[in-house]
Amino acid sequence: MRRENGGRIDRGTTLRFTFDGSEYTGHPGDTLASALLANGVRQVATSVKLGRPRGIVSAGGEEPSAVVQIEAPFPEPMLPATTVELYEGLVASSLPGQGRLATEPDPARYDAVHAHCDVLVVGAGPAGLAAARAAAGTGARVILADERSEPGGSLLGTHETITESEPDDVLGPQEVMPGAEWAAATTALLDGLPEVRVLRRTTVIGYYDDNYVVAVERRTNHLGAAAPADVARERVWRIRAKRVVLATGAHERSIAFAGNDLPGVMLAGSARAYANRYGVLPGERAVVFTANDSAYAAAFDLADAGAEIAAIVDVRPAPGAACAAGARERGIEVLTGHVVTAAQGDGQLSSVLAGRLRPEAEAAVGERELAADLLLVSGGWNPVVHLFSQAGGTLRYDEALGTIVPVACRQAVEAAGAAKGVFTLTGCLADGAEAGHRALEAALGTAVSERYTPPRATTETPTAPGTAFWLVPATDYGAHFVDPQRDVTVADVLRATGAGLRSVEHIKRYTTAGTAHDQGKTSGLLTTAIVAHALGASVGELGSTTFRAPYAPVSFAALAGRDRGSLHDPVRVTALHEWHVANGALFENVGQWKRPWYYPREGEDMEAAVLRECAAARQGVAAMDASTLGKIDVIGPDAAELLDRLYTNLMSSLAVGAIRYGVMCRPDGMVFDDGTVIRLAEDHFLVTTTTGNAAAVLDWMEEWLQTEWPTLRVHCTSVTEQWATVALVGPGSREVLAGLAPDLAVSAADFPFMTWREAEIAGLPARVCRISFSGELAYEINVTSWDGLRLWTAIMDTGLVTPYGTETMHVLRAEKGYPIVGQDTDGTVTPQDLGMAWVVSKKKPDFVGKRSFARADTARADRKQLVGLLPEDPGFLLPEGAHLVAGAELPEPPVPTLGHVTSSYRSAALGRTFALALVSGGQGRAGARLYAPVGGVLVPVTVTSHVLYDPEGARRDG
């Protein structure tokens, strides 16, 4: 029910919203929870297992019960109604413990920013504001993050007033003002300081090593459909702070008694917040059940706001004097030494049973029935120690306070105010200011003499020591809820201990307590206490469980941020890419690159296009964009020595002007990469790598150079992006090249295989390498990337040249038995296995990988070796990945296999299909018949050499 006045809501503006199909109104400043309570809606969810009605228990993110589904403007599952700011057009519905994902893609944007600061203050309640104030204005960079829409914390939900102890530039001299007003003034001051950033609606969710703190700011959620599309809905703040002050406050906790999950049962401090902050009375006639003084303040505020307080049921023999006086003044009956034995009602609270607390944990009996539609409960307050624990801090159970408090942490962090167990307003303000000042000095590494003197409270929420009271003794614990969101009762905990479990971790897992949406914020310590009760242990002995990130649920999308769509691991394209797109190429992803796969013409499928491209390369002229191959400049007096150590073959003997193919192995002897090495000068090589391994090879060279051979005078630089490379392939390639480069002597004698020349090609300065990955006469023309498209266009403008893609490249090289690292190798293949013993130097005393060739397993004769396969049916295309067996009949599994097909194609040149395969002892099996089980049939194949086309190399060398 809405009060007639009061609350931090804009009564002049009405917002319409829908819950479970009914339309309601509220005001800016409301949460969905406060608006529902104002409209008299009590049940907002049903429980996940037992289907019990559930209401609103708290006024914050610790809510253990009222978790709802947002339906519009965009579906979002499982939000506590207490954290949803009301906006026009909000549509929400109650949930049975499971949320619902949208079926449409989320249209919102998300992003992330990095921030560095001297002092990060988490929580803008009294302690946090005082801490930020103490650290601010000194030139130090301060960030103050608070999860609510408005700083002030508990000050917004009470009527407490404060006064400055000495004149202040914000407040002036000795003025008494409401705490909320002080919070607003202090926030305004902080907002005005250039080195201070106040983050509202920002929940710190994680505390990682080296004071790396992650927060999520909800930037447009509260605007509903009016949210601007170009503003990130949520933003992740990655904050690196020199010092952190955790002023995260405390969560009130419940007490286990029968029916404590009924709608209408509410934490006392939260009811107080509804009355004061939102101008809502969550009930008309309330009973208060408490073990401490703080609930009296709630009772008094509600009474003063017009609610009837039927009774205060206090488990203690007597409340603090101020509480007793306050109750007397208001004519509220106080039942000391009493407990609530049951909350009763059909779907919502209608009455409360109270009875005397008996000695020796004897079951309490409800002696008195009090009509009530609201039951305020306070079992005490738990400091919010989650982030302190995440930071690696230790915790202990404080017997006097009856709760868990922070102890010490290796990281540069301290807790302040209620988060460390200080529960008076004056105490929190002073503690916050102290912590802020300490953090400032530690961050700056120097003493700061100026000191902020915080205000003190003129009215205080009474805080005579409470008693740690957890459980109302009963004969049946089946409705004493410990974790209502998981429907865990005291009876469930007793069943777990009865099963033999002794560890709190086991019992939580047995019962699932603490694993729900709130992650046990209000129920965690209560569960531990019930376990202690069941085991006859003390709460302190059992200790606290570890708190894990995130402190509050965080959307997947926020964590993904901008790393989506085209920004998700962005692709690289070559200088020729736009031509490929314009000319209908289909693309293959290779490493980070987009490479043309093939260029289908009208009516062609892949097979037809590739056969045509292959034929062009073997019979005419064809060209491929080879720019993606990695290129590394290796320069220095010891460049040749470095390459000798890394390649299996000798590179130092390469003449300037010449080119050599090389293979690199890992120290375990397995092939790592291959490519050509070009000697540009005595001290200058250009190394090419496979497309996918370019970065890895450069890293490899750097690692060896820097960590093993720092005396070698060599520099390595990636030049992949600097060059555009075109492979010009086919018997007609010399003619085309000659046409484009009239000044270049292109005859076989003038420009032999495995040499390079500088030349002007189509008017562009170029380096031409006579190398071949196709077995044909071929050239690789390199120009600067700027000139790449001009070169390619000039080649295509001759009208003689067919563009081809990676698929054709694969076929051409496979016909020649050239392996592709990563396709015909898998990290278990040596150069010898590939039939390339010739590339392994016998002369060099050592190179990376050499020693491993002598190991027992690498020396085996039956290793898997690269061979060619010809299916006996020349039209049958073996699937790549098919396995090979010896016999014409398959035994029962596991079937012994001899190897597998690594590459398989239709060959225009061979007029048939063929494959490459790794086969056990394959090099000795030429002519043998093996079988490939494919689709339930054993396909006969003949083993051949892996070189199937022009084995003499006449075409390539011609």
């Binding site: 990682y208 120290p667 750097e702 690692e703 005393p845 050592d846 020693r851 491993s852 002598a854 190991r855």
Partner: protein, 92 residues
């Protein structure tokens, strides 16, 4: 995410670095003189202590220099960073 003090660039985010495992594992002077067991130790066996560990890092998204660090694998605290070729500092 650790804050790693690169000896060349100063403290930088862990995401800028590439990890290189145990430091001070030298490539053998003459691999051919090693037994298979000794060679296997070089290839595959690395210390894995729970506690202080001398390890290699490369500031791969920064200066691209390799360096060594002594880090406690139980706490992730970095006790020292030093350049390749320098002896492991005493970190108590």
């Amino acid at each position: 995410m650790l804050l790693i003090p690169c000896p060349w660039c100063g403290p930088r985010e862990e995401a800028e670095f590439h990890y290189g495992g145990q430091a001070h594992v030298a490539y053998p002077d003459d691999p051919s003189a090693l037994s298979d067991e000794e060679w296997a130790r070089y290839l595959f066996f690395r210390d894995n202590p729970k506690g202080r560990f001398a390890e290699r890092w490369s500031h791969s998204a920064g200066c691209r220099r390799w360096f060594n660090a002594v880090r406690d694998t139980a706490t992730n605290e970095i006790h020292a960073v030093y350049r390749v070729g320098e002896a492991r500092p005493v970190t108590s």
